[in-house]
Symmetry: C2
Subunit: 227 residues, 2 copies
């Protein structure tokens, strides 16, 4: 499948590499590829500049956002939440494309832990869907660290990932990708329509405090239910 991942941070790199390994034709989209490749600084969250990674992944071209948008059946939104609307506008989602939204609406402007810049009666995923009504937004993977996104078996027990979206076909497409990334069917929980993205995004404040209490981000939640 033709997949464009937009966002060149830790999440975009991890997902694009894993999707390419799974056999997909993957582009990595960024505003200005030449400028992105000239960066030499490590990000505030510890992600190294992309140069070395790019050399290690010659099969994943780094392209401008509009080219990424044109290419894809699925656009994976792996940008920072604050940049998502602008980046997708530049990618110009087309009729029928699926936007797999793994971002979070984190507002780091007031220090750590960040708050959310949209929540409660709306969500970033719903904002994206309203802005791009021709596309089909599916929220998923925003509740786990990027290592777990593509390697759920690294934890010693099974655990749960969520999907939410208004279009059943798009949700099935994304669920298929989750299988390819290593998520067993029984660990993928469909929460229904895209409105459920509010719950998935509002879990982040708990996730951030769990990371603080555990001292690392290598964890997830498992839904334990009565038989």
């Amino acid at each position: 499948m033709k997949i464009s991942v937009i966002g060149t941070g830790a999440v975009g790199r991890r997902l694009s590499a894993a999707l390419e390994s799974a056999g997909h034709e993957v582009l990595l989209g960024t505003r200005d590829p030449a400028q992105t490749l000239t960066r030499t600084e490590t990000s505030a969250t510890g992600t190294p500049p992309i140069g070395a990674w790019h050399e290690d992944h010659p099969g994943i071209p780094l392209v401008p956002l509009a080219e990424a948008g044109n290419h894809a059946q699925i656009i994976v939104n792996a940008t920072q939440g604050t940049a998502s609307l602008g980046a997708l506008e530049a990618a110009g989602p087309r009729e029928g494309q699926t936007i797999m939204d793994v971002s979070n609406p984190l507002d780091a402007s007031s220090g750590f832990p960040p708050s959310l810049f949209v929540c409660n009666t709306d969500s970033l995923a719903e904002q994206l869907q309203r802005r791009f009504p021709v596309a089909k937004v599916v929220k998923t993977l925003n509740t786990v660290n990027n290592m777990l996104m593509v390697d759920p078996a690294r934890l010693p027990e099974s655990h749960t990932v969520f999907v939410a979206g208004d279009d059943a076909d798009a949700k099935a497409l994304v669920t298929g990708l989750l299988h390819q990334l290593g998520w067993p069917a029984e660990d993928i929980l469909d929460l229904g329509g895209l409105e459920s993205a509010r719950g998935m995004e509002m879990y982040l404040p708990l996730w951030l405090r769990l990371m603080g209490a555990l001292g690392h981000a290598d964890f997830n939640i498992k839904i334990v239910r009565k038989d």
Copy 2:
């Protein structure tokens, strides 16, 4: 220990009965006990009137809020979130009392699922702590259904409950009660200061959608982490 549970709904009844069974001297506080006992209607959430329950639990006196507040070393806030500040004002928390806050700031005024009336950069628990600085607020149990609060073993696997609060002694006291209610030490996760109540309360929108997807409330999350 002398414990007053305030709020006579399903949560207050369940917790007061379990704490009395554990050997505590329990009062159940309500604004007007005589009026509460005359009610004959089932609540919007399906809780029957308290009369029959009260007859089945003769060891748990139903008392006015001020008497409940005077009695207790621990006040358990089991009121609806919208009523919590007012009910605790009537109970008049005294110097050194622990307020075990199991409530949620649910706003049901716009239908189902409810939104939160405080979140993101504040929480109901923090509102209570600011309003009653002489008391020590500990947030816990708000992330599970009332049956699970007092019977965690009803699920087929272990699962996690959280505590958050600014006072270590109060948190230890509450953790002791959780043990008595059946929560093993390894399933009780201390999230740190009361600010973490933001995460615990903001999990509710996900909890509500999980209830919708699963079709029942008999579930909880387990934190699965790398060894």
